[in-house]
């Protein structure tokens, strides 16, 4: 399709120009802090499949990527499993709201990264701290958007449901949940994005595996190509993960003018 081809061409223009600029300003220099893109490409290949350097890092990418993906989705799913029901309760039940909302609002301004030292004290240095940070990072966006979603249902829809014979006990499933879905979905998407941000910080604290771990380790060894390769992979995985969620949203929220 010519239109899609054009969009793709435009979308690729900026990265290509950037690559060219990167190449021209680094290739062939005897001394450069940043390795040229081709070298990073070669390193990335070796990280993924081996066969170039055959060193300690060759073909280790799948293991590290899998570790990070596991923590991201594990922490994210745990956050969703807690934040969704909690958000619905806070949004719908005044007593629960009065009980929990002030505390949660008070805890919310503490940046996730500020929890890191405490997490390391409690969970020790290792993957459990990273997992906890991911959980925390994903938790608040999901919670806040779920509360917002179930609280901002158009009152008219409750009247419409009531006059059509929906029993009060069925209102939640028939009206509140579907009406709140776009907000809930926004929360899940933000939460997952945040999980990818936080995982790297979490893995920089003495974890053995994970993308955050190798880029930190490679920095100490001055293997800048590996650092950049790791960044590229994190970017790609985050992008794919978001694209997946968005595709799901387009299917589920076809009815919504903002998503469909």
């Amino acid at each position: 399709m010519p239109v899609r081809g054009r969009a793709l061409g435009l979308a690729l223009a900026a990265p290509l120009i950037f690559l060219a600029f990167w190449h021209l300003s680094t290739a062939g220099r005897s001394f450069s802090l940043i390795p040229p893109p081709l070298e990073v490409g070669r390193q990335l290949w070796d990280l993924a499949f081996g066969g170039v350097w055959d060193d300690l890092y060759s073909a280790t990418l799948p293991e590290h990527a899998l570790a990070s993906v596991g923590r991201v989705y594990g922490g994210f799913l745990l956050a969703a499993a807690l934040a969704l029901p909690l958000g619905m309760l806070i949004g719908r039940v005044a007593l629960v709201r009065s009980l929990l909302d002030p505390t949660l609002q008070l805890l919310r301004p503490i940046p996730v990264t500020a929890w890191l030292p405490l997490a390391m004290i409690v969970f020790g240095i290792g993957p459990r701290s990273a997992f906890f940070l991911v959980f925390l990072g994903a938790f608040y966006p999901i919670l806040v958007n779920t509360i917002f979603g179930v609280r901002s249902v158009d009152g008219r829809l409750f009247e419409a449901a009531a006059m059509l014979g929906v029993s009060p006990s069925a209102v939640f499933w028939k009206v509140v949940l579907p009406a709140a879905l776009p907000s809930i979905f926004t929360g899940l998407r933000l939460g997952l994005g945040f999980a990818w941000v936080v995982i790297v910080v979490g893995e920089m604290t003495g974890v053995q595996t994970g993308l955050g771990a190798i880029i930190m380790e490679a920095r100490q060894l001055s293997r800048t190509e590996i650092v950049i390769s790791g960044m590229v992979v994190i970017g790609l995985l985050g992008f794919l993960s978001d694209a997946l969620v968005q595709a799901l949203g387009r299917r589920l929220l076809r009815w919504s003018p903002q998503h469909g």
């Binding site: 158009d154 008219r156 829809l157 009247e159 419409a160 449901a161 009531a162 006059m163 059509l164 014979g165 929906v166 069925a170 028939k174 009206v175 579907p178 009406a179 879905l181 076809r254 009815w255 919504s256 003018p257 469909g260």
Partner: protein, 259 residues
């Protein structure tokens, strides 16, 4: 009636006796409606007219069960009205459609929510989607429809739910003139076929004369019923007809004299 005798009271689907509704607004009491009396017979098409703030919506919302009267009694077939129910369908000016459901699912929402068998829900849905002329749009979502189409869905939705009384609160007020005329005509056709009881709120005198068997005139401050007159012009009615014009003058005067 045990002996099979039909009294005139037995034909009254709605009985409204001495109904007053007070709201408090910033601590000040507001009398939205005072001492309203109204009986509606089954199959009647009643229009409520009056300037804004005279309690038309309040009255309709009490019949629907969304509000409870401060004083007086409201009953349907002799039983007090307390909560909303499928026997009284409401058509809102702002439609109130479920945006996540297709046209067909919106129309079938009531029967499905009340646990009707699937085949029945589908047959009912199809019948009423066809009745309001939206067959081609059965799978569309509300945000893809024009205002007139949305209001057709809202009407089909209460018809499909077997509402006995259809409460319409300025349903065509937000539509352009052409769409409004079409919907008025279609509503009359549906009403003539189904013989539903309709309570239709409007502030347009012409719309009321075009549609109603009976016009109830209200005035504000506090909201009251000030006149209740039959319209016996044969249908279809022609707004350019001299008799139509005479009625228009008559109801203008009734409205004007109470300002």
């Amino acid at each position: 009636m045990a002996d099979g005798m039909i009294t005139s009271a037995a034909l009254n689907i709605l009985d409204i006796t001495g109904v007053t509704k007070r709201f408090s607004f910033n601590g000040e009491p507001i009398v939205a409606l005072e001492g309203a009396n109204l009986t509606v017979r089954k199959g009647e098409f009643v229009c409520l007219i009056g300037p804004s703030g005279c309690g038309k919506s309040t009255l309709l919302r009490m019949i629907a069960g969304f509000e409870t009267p401060s004083e007086g009694r409201l009953s349907m077939w002799g039983a007090p009205v307390s909560v909303p129910g499928p026997d009284r369908g409401m058509v809102f000016q702002d439609y109130g459609l479920f945006p996540w459901l297709s046209v067909a699912r919106n129309v079938g929402f009531g029967p499905a929510a009340r646990g009707r068998p699937r085949a029945e829900v589908e047959a009912t849905t199809k019948r009423f989607v066809d009745m309001v002329g939206l067959t081609r749009f059965a799978d569309a979502y509300p945000h893809q429809l024009s205002g007139g189409m949305k209001q057709r869905v809202a009407i089909a939705r209460v018809l499909a739910n077997e509402a006995e009384v259809v409460l319409m609160d300025e349903p065509f007020g937000a539509l352009d003139a052409m769409t409004r005329e079409n919907l008025q005509r279609e509503l009359l056709e549906i009403w003539e076929r189904t013989r539903l009881t309709v309570l239709f709120v409007t502030h347009a005198i012409e719309e009321a004369i075009l549609l109603a068997d009976r016009i109830v005139v209200m005035s504000p401050g506090p909201g009251r019923i000030v006149a209740d007159e039959r319209v016996s012009l044969p249908r279809p009615r022609d707004p350019t007809d001299p008799e139509f014009n005479a009625l228009r003058r008559r109801f203008s005067a009734l409205l004007g004299s109470h300002h």
